[in-house]
Symmetry: C2
Subunit: 232 residues, 2 copies
DNA sequence: AAGAAAAAATTTGTATACAAGTATACATAA
DNA sequence: TTATGTATACTTGTATACAAATTTTTTCTT
């Protein structure tokens, strides 16, 4: 009755490698040889290659034909795009959420917020971010747009590596406060207030980019040599 | 000097299969055996598999373990999501475009519109849609957000198959008229008008969905059996 | 004739072999 | 010392072989 499904090697490799990349366990620009990974994950090159192909499609891995494969550098252009897409979509969603009433959704959101409070007490930032993620997804589900969150989530993955870099400098209590205010506005049906707070909230992530991209310049892709680079 | 680069087999397979799927040359739900494709494209299963893996990530192909691979059915949920994402992003972009001035961009857009007019004269709908695509991309580039168009474009691919189904019933002159009005509003710096026309324009695509999903029910995925399906 | 069981044929998932291009180390020459 | 050419070792791209699961066909029984 209980269908115990064996997870295929290719799928395992994909999930594990994606986890390692987004968690910065594998560093941007780091070389990742297929034979090494195959040995490391106890499988052949074929499923490893399948995983890398998928990750390459998401922009997290770069193939350099016959010269090695690397973890894709953090591309500020991709981060900027992710921020834009996230803002436009999530603001639209939060506005709709404020016009919706769903006790079930509100309950889940409140629970996620409680978990965030707990994670701050415990000093567990990783837990905070997973609860944060869940909360944002809840809003999408609340308005019947869970697939939109999937798109945000994929774009956001580039931003997530940056966020991981700024972990120690982030004031989690401030983010928690934002969340509480957003929930309050949504519950109160205050559309424009929900929107304003969310906009402010989403903007915070982008604040330290300049500092980070200087501090960890080896993690970032060099901006395109524009023709005007020499002029000054 | 001229770097003649050989396109790798995997890349060729990906482009060709994607083309066949989006053009409905390969029908939704149609079985596509890897060995057949390998023979058809004169390569081994490995690059075919790479292409199918990528397409699966984009939701255009479904693997059914050891039981065959099929062209993914058109999922109305994916179409609905694409429409939502496209509207939110493209409306934001057109508003910014109306506040921007770029003779270069305007020139390209006008050129794309001219090509649309030509394609209607020639009765070449495929050409119309490729020029349509180019025009929309131009607006994104105009405001420095070309990467956003890439995201729209990928989401839109599901919609494109639906659009292909409704080709003969579509009034291309009406779409062309929309385009001209949008361009005029953007040139005139009329933000809200540009937005309104664009919104109307994007809405037209969704009009015939019910009819199409009934007429070609074998191309669509059955909607999830929701728990409330019986109640009524 | 109908249904169930068994066998055969397909089909994908994974492992391995080989080919071809790339980077690196090293020797050589200026 | 520095630059250059060459040989060597790596690394990926593709082909092929094999295993395991599923589907289809066939056979047998009632």
């Amino acid at each position: 009755m209980t269908d115990v499904v064996e997870i295929p090697a290719g799928e395992r490799a994909y999930r594990e490698l994606r986890r390692r990349i987004v968690s910065l366990d594998l560093k941007p620009n780091q070389a990742i040889g297929e034979v090494f990974l195959a040995d490391d994950l106890s499988m052949s090159r074929t499923p490893i290659r399948e995983a890398l192909t998928r990750l390459s499609g998401e922009g997290l891995v770069d193939f350099r034909a016959r010269a090695g494969t690397i973890v894709a550098p953090i591309r500020l252009e991709a981060v900027r795009t992710a921020q834009y897409v996230r803002e436009k979509l999530e603001l639209a969603i939060i506005e709709e959420a404020a016009q919706t009433s769903s006790n079930r959704a509100i309950f889940n959101i409140r629970q996620a917020i409680e978990e965030q409070r707990f994670s701050i007490q415990e000093g567990d930032a990783a837990l905070f971010f997973s609860a944060d993620e869940r909360m944002h997804r809840c809003f999408s589900e609340m308005v019947g747009r869970s697939a939109v969150w999937t798109i945000i989530s994929e774009a956001k993955r580039h931003m997530d590596r940056l966020r991981r870099l700024s972990l120690q400098d982030t004031d989690l209590n401030q983010l928690l406060g934002d969340h509480e205010n957003i929930l309050a506005a949504v519950e109160g049906g205050n559309v424009s207030e929900a929107r304003d707070i969310m906009k402010l909230h989403l903007g915070r992530v982008m604040e330290d980019i300049d500092r980070l991209s200087t501090q960890h310049s080896d993690y970032f892709s060099q901006p395109e040599n524009s023709d005007t680079a020499i002029a000054q």
